[in-house]
């Protein structure tokens, strides 16, 4: 006899809802090569745009000679800043309250900056035409270092800001200064330091790196002059924001602007900003009345689109002599490049950096971040950073290690001693964040037990005692708390639009459903996970819930996907929209069963009359009834929309432990073991979560062990191709071990916190912690990234540990 298919358990399995590791719904098209990426789009009459870029980092433009390019067959236009001036589009506002050049206006501010655009019949002709545009430059002295930039006699970078002593974030102290932002209580922190018996300090640099998704940025703009409508396909993580900005810049009403983010080949924060290429291609389409496509190549992507980090940080911890932290002080010099185009919520020019008190109960703290202009490409917030949380977690985790080393304390012990205790949640930090929930002690113990931490330390001690040991063994431990889910609109806005998010669900008469959200997946699996949320809330199998995102003409307004905000914000909107439908469904069920609502229980996919199992109505039956037998006073149909303004951020956390063996002869590091325990609250799809963790850990490995964007003294960016920029292959990438605990968020409708950036935020300091730990018996307290073989080989020599 077959297993009954109508038990609650069987029906729950059939739903493949919350908690199920169900296979992804989006895979079918990708494994057949039928994805729909921006560069796949081909429209009748479409032209191609390419960009003439500055070869030098700082120069005046003396002359641009378009003749040769314009004379080439197949070239339709060559535009420069002068052509955009009458449209007032040669400069554009940035998300950070600054302005950025769309095309270099008399002056070049960074190497590879956009100087002119060429529009031609196909991409080959466009590339030829780019070579034919002649530009005469008068080179100016470059500033590649933020400390040099702040010297009194430093060259003036932003002549357009001459005389402006007030920036978007307060006073500007110097012609290359952007802002100084502070958080916490300086007086309290200083007092704590004055009174503390133990003080440690450490300078550390978080290098400039680039998210480098496999698909570069691109855009196909199609202005229909007959209808006066603009449709743009774009690699954007925030299509609604793009629509609003495009409408404001172009004067076309938002109702006639349609932005479509189709399939996106990885975002990682690289595809949040609005780039000059997008503006130019839209202008070109409007002016020419034809579709125009622009897709950048990899060199352009690495050289000119949103970089990440470039934070010079000085951390200090004050503590008791037995390791209890009394105070934290941080000073940061932030290299923002030539324009402040940092993609942060408006009120936070340093993002959420003030989460830097971490998982610890720090009574007094102060942080100050100074933003500076240099002759580098603009950006700063990108690459799975949760708005500078990568920098913050790196800072505090390194400082705790430095403190542990100073006191000769074990790195796990000092953390456990300082953790915010489970009973203290919700916990308000010295910086004002209200952490929602956490149980750090349980998670830490789980990891230490799983890896046999004591055994590892004993092994390390034995290796240290052997002068001929071929490797230096290091154990890295990071216990991080993230802050994601931006965010409550009273605190968080992008260009004035509050950072809520949204979901609209419509259930069809025959029981399937369609749902649209204001976020946009770039590989995170929303088509699957969002359907799973709805499946559990409404008892409709996730297989028949169609999830759509990215088309601003159909999706409700949202702020997009970045900073791990999809599950915390849109996920909540989804649950609450579903609950509105659930409430209506209950009314319909009561009507059909002729009972009061109070007499009904919900079980998986049906409302049952209390005490009478035979009397029930399934969601499928209710859906049908909604369209032809709604009860008196209720409209027909079964749909709802919810806009969710989160009451707070969410605070996922993790415990990561890494064991490394550094070859004393070559500096090569083998990642022997990496154990990652994550707590993201309620887990929607464990298989997808694990995939996200693997990906974030791998990108973290790349950052910590090899990625850099070195500039020479003349401002040339060396190594902006994949020959040099370290993207690990399957060979270098370590094997990951994942684990979890579940501490739901009390303020979130389904208790979920978001997870995709945690592995990146947490792994980078873990690798550094392990590498430094390998050298710690030699008195080393810190080594800057990247930890390439060459750099470690030099360190081995420097500290007398080379073989």
């Amino acid at each position: 006899m077959n297993a009954p298919t109508d038990t609650a358990e069987a029906r729950e399995l059939a739903l493949a809802g919350m908690g199920a590791s169900r296979l992804r719904k989006e895979d079918a098209r990708f494994i057949q090569g039928k994805g729909n990426y921006v560069d796949d789009l081909k429209l009748p009459g479409m032209l191609h745009m390419d960009i003439v870029r500055a070869p030098v980092a700082h120069a005046r433009i003396k002359k641009i000679n378009k003749e040769a390019a314009l004379a080439m067959p197949g070239v339709h236009a060559v535009l420069t800043a002068d052509d955009l001036k009458p449209l007032k589009l040669h400069w554009m506002p940035t998300l950070a309250g600054d302005v950025a050049a769309v095309l270099a206006d008399e002056k070049v501010h960074f190497q590879m900056q956009e100087v002119a655009i060429v529009i031609a019949d196909d991409r080959y002709i466009a590339a030829d035409a780019v070579e034919a545009v002649e530009v005469e430059y008068e080179e100016l002295p470059v500033v590649m270092d933020p400390f040099e930039a702040l010297k009194p006699d430093a060259p003036v970078l932003r002549e357009d800001l001459a005389g402006k002593t007030e920036g978007a974030h307060g006073k500007r102290e110097h012609h290359n200064h952007i802002f100084t932002w502070e958080a916490g209580d300086k007086a309290a922190a200083d007092a704590a330091f004055d009174a503390a018996p133990v003080k440690v300090s450490q300078h550390m640099y978080y290098p400039r790196v680039h998210p480098c998704p496999l698909e570069t940025c691109g855009c196909v703009a199609n202005f229909d002059p007959i209808r006066g409508e603009l449709t743009t396909h774009i690699t954007s993580q925030a299509p609604h924001v793009v629509r609003t900005v495009v409408s404001l810049l172009s004067g076309i009403p938002e109702s006639k602007v349609r932005i479509i983010s189709p399939d996106i080949g990885g975002g990682f924060g690289n595809k949040v900003g609005i780039y000059p290429g997008y503006v130019c291609v839209i202008v070109a389409s409007i002016v020419l009345g034809r579709p125009v496509k622009w897709v950048e190549d990899r060199i352009e992507n690495i050289s000119s689109t949103a970089f990440a980090r470039d934070y010079h940080m000085d951390g200090e911890l004050a503590a008791t002599s037995d390791g209890k932290i009394l105070g934290l002080r941080v000073n940061v010099v932030a290299d923002h490049g030539a324009f402040d185009a940092c993609a942060d919520p408006t009120k936070f020019p340093a993002g959420l950096f003030h989460i830097c008190s971490g998982s610890y109960d720090v009574p007094a703290a102060h942080a100050s971040v100074k933003g500076v202009y240099t002759n580098k490409a603009p950006g700063g917030v990108a690459y799975r950073c949760s708005f500078r949380v990568t920098e913050a977690v790196y800072l505090i985790e390194r400082m705790v290690d430095v403190l542990a080393q100073k006191l000769g304390m074990d790195k796990a012990e000092i953390r456990a001693k300082n953790f915010i205790k489970k009973e203290q949640f919700p916990y308000t930090s010295a910086f004002g964040f209200e952490y929602d929930s956490g149980d750090y002690h349980t998670a830490l113990q789980k990891v230490l037990d799983a890896v046999d931490y004591k055994g590892l330390r004993a092994e390390q001690a034995a290796k240290r005692a052997d002068p001929n040991s071929p490797t230096l063994m290091g154990i890295g431990l990071v216990t991080f708390t993230e802050v994601v889910g931006a965010g409550p609109s009273k605190m968080c806005d992008i260009l004035g639009v509050g950072m809520f998010d949204s979901c609209e669900i419509r259930v069809h008469p025959t029981g399937s459903a369609i749902a649209r959200m204001g976020t946009i997946t770039q590989g995170q699996g929303h088509q699957t996970t969002y359907a799973q949320i709805i499946a559990t809330e409404l008892g409709i199998p996730s297989e028949v819930i169609q999830v759509e995102e990215g088309d601003t003409s159909t999706a409700p307004y949202g702020l997009g996907t970045y900073g791990s905000r999809s599950t915390p914000v849109a996920g909540a909107a989804i649950a609450l929209a579903a609950r509105k439908i659930h409430a209506k469904a209950k009314k319909i069920a009561a009507h059909l069963l002729e009972v009061n609502e109070g007499d009904l229980d919900w079980e998986v996919d049906r409302f049952k009359v209390k005490g009478d199992d035979a009397k029930f109505k399934t969601m499928a039956e209710i859906s049908w009834a909604a369209y032809n037998q709604p009860p008196e006073g209720l409209e027909p149909g079964l749909e709802a929309v919810h806009y969710y303004d989160p009451p707070n951020f969410t605070y996922p956390f993790g415990i990561y432990l890494c064991v490394v063996d550094i070859d004393r002869a070559t500096g090569e590091t083998k990642i022997r073991r990496f154990y990652a325990l994550d707590d993201c609250g309620t887990r929607i799809n464990p298989m997808i979560i694990e995939g996200q963790i693997h990906g974030g850990l791998t990108e973290g490995f790349a950052v910590a062990m090899g990625q850099q964007m070195p500039f020479d003294a003349q401002g040339n960016l060396m190594g902006n191709t994949l020959m040099d920029y370290f993207l690990p292959t399957a060979v270098e990438t370590p094997k990951w071990e994942t684990d979890f605990t579940v501490t739901p968020s009390p303020h979130h409708p389904i208790g979920a916190k978001g997870v995709a950036e945690s592995p990146h935020v947490g792994s980078i300091p873990t690798f550094t912690s392990a590498i430094v730990d390998a050298f710690s018996h030699l008195g080393v307290t810190h080594l800057d990234m990247p930890h390439s073989s060459y750099r470690l080989w030099k360190s081995l020599r420097e500290h007398g540990a080379a073989l």
């Binding site: 570069t216 990885g266 292959t729």
Partner: protein
């Protein structure tokens, strides 16, 4: 300077007048509208453009269309089984969550397919080396390895079944 080429793609003959400098990847994507093969870099590093050329895996960004006159090209669009069902490699990727954004996937699938022809029973190490010409930013490769292992098992089963 243009040149007449005749290239068989996924079993179908195609014939076009192309510029000598036209890359095979652009020929596939723009001339033939086979957009499954992707461009991810400009230095032959990423492998998103991998196709089979007379059965061997090559990076189509580094091959000229004119070079493969009279040759056989197989792209991801030619990967499915004759009855339209997923191949063992495609099914393996789906079952083991070996893809996220999907951009590296066509190249990865084509290469994995060829890898399993070269080495039907690879160790994990051999798989990692075998796909080291294909970059992925999303998955961290761990599930891709499992996907290839799953496909290898399936192909072995099918081979022993028909043996």
């Amino acid at each position: 300077m243009t040149i007449r080429t005749a290239i068989t793609v996924n079993g179908k003959e195609t014939s076009r007048e192309v510029e000598a400098r036209t890359l095979l990847v652009h020929y596939l994507r723009e001339e033939l509208s086979l957009t499954g093969t992707h461009v991810g870099c400009d230095t032959s590093n990423c492998g998103a453009c991998t196709v089979l050329l007379d059965g061997e895996a090559v990076k189509s960004c580094t091959v000229l269309a004119a070079q493969v006159h009279d040759c056989n090209i197989t792209t991801i669009e030619g990967a499915a089984q004759a009855d339209g069902s997923f191949s063992p490699v495609q099914e393996g990727f789906r079952q083991e969550h070996g893809l996220q954004c999907g951009f590296c996937t066509p190249g990865m699938l084509v290469r994995s397919y060829r890898l399993l022809q070269e080495n039907p029973n690879p160790t994990e190490e051999e798989i990692r080396v075998g796909i080291s010409g294909n970059l992925c930013r999303c998955t961290g490769y761990q599930n891709i390895v499992k996907a290839v292992q799953s496909a290898a098992r399936k192909l072995q089963e099918a081979a022993t079944a028909t043996a």
